[in-house]
């Protein structure tokens, strides 16, 4: 009991931060892939596919991530898999990210100017070609700033993986705090570690956004 915060504690927190980072990357990749499918389904010409995607997005966006964490953790157990916490956490984060980023990317795809779609069609490109060669490259530029901005949310929300027992930054902090009983110190350090992870992303996103708006203004004039 007691004791002072020393370098070993700090190393333990850094290990937790590494897990936070790892989970963020994993979840972002998996969530991005599912989110891409969600985005394309949302603008599909087939109505039932569209409805399904809308229902999925509404369902996930109306449920807290914390509940999704519990559902993924216990749901996988119910389905007969005995999985480590990281798998459950990644699954929950993937579902969460796919619904939000799917909507962001749909907006970006749809904001590619209408004439671009039409002229691609006039050039006798197939639907696949039009998407791949004309629309997506342009949508990518529009999508970069909000995607980077959303990554901040992802990093922050991995903190909820602590509830299913993954020893990421918050859980590591709680464990350190249990032995030191110095919540203000420990949690402030945790907050600053999160800030170190998130602030560069926020800053980068803002910069990208500014650049995009300058380019847009140039196009318009």
């Amino acid at each position: 009991m007691g004791g002072v915060f020393n370098v070993n504690h700090f190393n333990y927190l850094l290990l937790g931060a590494a897990w936070t980072f790892g989970l963020s990357v994993l979840a972002m990749i998996a969530g991005g892939m599912v989110g891409f499918i969600v985005a394309l389904s949302r603008i599909s010409p087939v109505a039932p596919v569209r409805w399904l995607a809308i229902a999925y997005v509404q369902l996930v966006q109306g449920t807290p991530l914390l509940i999704l964490m519990f559902l993924a953790y216990f749901g996988l157990t119910v389905a007969g898999f005995d999985v480590p916490a990281i798998v459950a956490a990644t699954l929950a984060m993937t579902i969460y990210i796919s619904a939000y980023i799917g909507e962001i990317w749909r907006g970006c795809i749809q904001s590619v100017p209408r004439p671009q779609w039409e002229s691609a069609e006039c050039l006798a490109l197939t639907k696949m070609q039009r998407m791949r060669l004309v629309i997506l490259p342009q949508a990518l530029k529009i999508a970069t700033p909000p995607t980077v901005g959303f990554m901040v949310q992802v990093v922050k929300n991995t903190s909820l993986a602590s509830v299913v027992g993954l020893v990421e930054l918050v859980r590591a902090g709680q464990l350190v705090n249990n032995s030191l009983i110095a919540p203000l110190t420990v949690y402030t350090i945790i907050a600053s570690l999160y800030f170190t992870l998130c602030f560069p992303l926020s800053w980068w996103s803002r910069k990208l956004e500014y650049r995009l708006s300058v380019r847009r203004a140039q196009v318009e004039t």
């Binding site: 109306g62 449920t63 922050k156 929300n157 903190s159 918050v170 110095a182 949690y187």
Partner: protein, 227 residues
């Protein structure tokens, strides 16, 4: 899959869930109102000519937006208690939610205020409106009208985020679900029901905001037209 779903044990604890829903609603409503006020004041501060105040507001927004709500709650509840400032979990949750949503509201409102055309403000000044009148009639209300959809989604997200208060022992919906889960061992069913209730709450909230918007913003202008 050999698992059999069994909702009966969970359903009989419905009154508990409703207590949780009620507390979640309280958290959401109080934090929305206070967060909106703080966020708007902060946005005014950030735009103002007082450099110190603008910096302070910017600092608050950046710190808050780049750290997780869970950590903020832990600091407000456990951190403050450890230096002798012991507040009930309920108040700590509200404080953390207000701090959090205030920062987001600040950014949204600032974007709205920045979108007001300078000519409008100059025209108002020419009509000899006082600074307070200019802010209220020419800047704040049109700005709020413009960013209303963004504010609405932020407040719905806030309601969902109030589930994190369960981690500091506030007996809202998620905490109730945790309790029911540990009593019945029907974990999946319990959280599925909790999820449905959150879904319902978020729809009710959206509907409420829509009706409120129709009542307050009667001019119903298209977004993008000059103000």
């Amino acid at each position: 899959m050999t698992y059999k779903f069994e909702f009966a044990d969970v359903i009989v604890r419905l009154p508990l869930f409703l207590d949780g829903v009620w507390l979640t609603c309280q958290l959401a409503v109080i934090a929305t109102l206070l967060g909106f006020i703080i966020g708007t004041l902060c946005a005014i501060g950030r735009r103002g000519s007082n450099v110190g105040l603008a910096r302070a507001c910017g600092f608050y927004v950046e710190i808050t937006r780049n750290t997780p709500l869970l950590v903020q709650m832990l600091i407000v509840y456990f951190g403050l208690a450890s230096i002798g400032l012991k507040i009930p979990a309920y108040l700590a949750a509200i404080a953390a939610l207000v701090i959090n949503v205030g920062a987001y509201t600040c950014e949204i409102m600032r974007a709205g205020m920045d979108s007001i055309h300078p000519g409008q403000i100059e025209a108002a000044e020419c009509l000899a409106l006082t600074r307070a009148q200019v802010y209220w009639h020419v800047i704040l209300r049109p700005a709020a009208e413009r960013v209303y959809p963004a504010l609405t989604s932020q407040f719905v997200l806030l309601m969902l985020a109030s589930s994190i208060a369960s981690q500091i022992s506030v007996e809202e919906l998620t905490a109730v679900a945790n309790r029911v889960q540990s009593e019945t061992y029907r974990s999946f069913e319990t959280y599925a029901i909790a999820a449905l209730m959150y879904l319902f709450l978020s729809y009710v909230m959206r509907l409420g905001f829509w009706i409120f918007g129709q009542m307050v913003f009667t001019r119903r202008r298209k977004v993008g037209t000059p103000m």
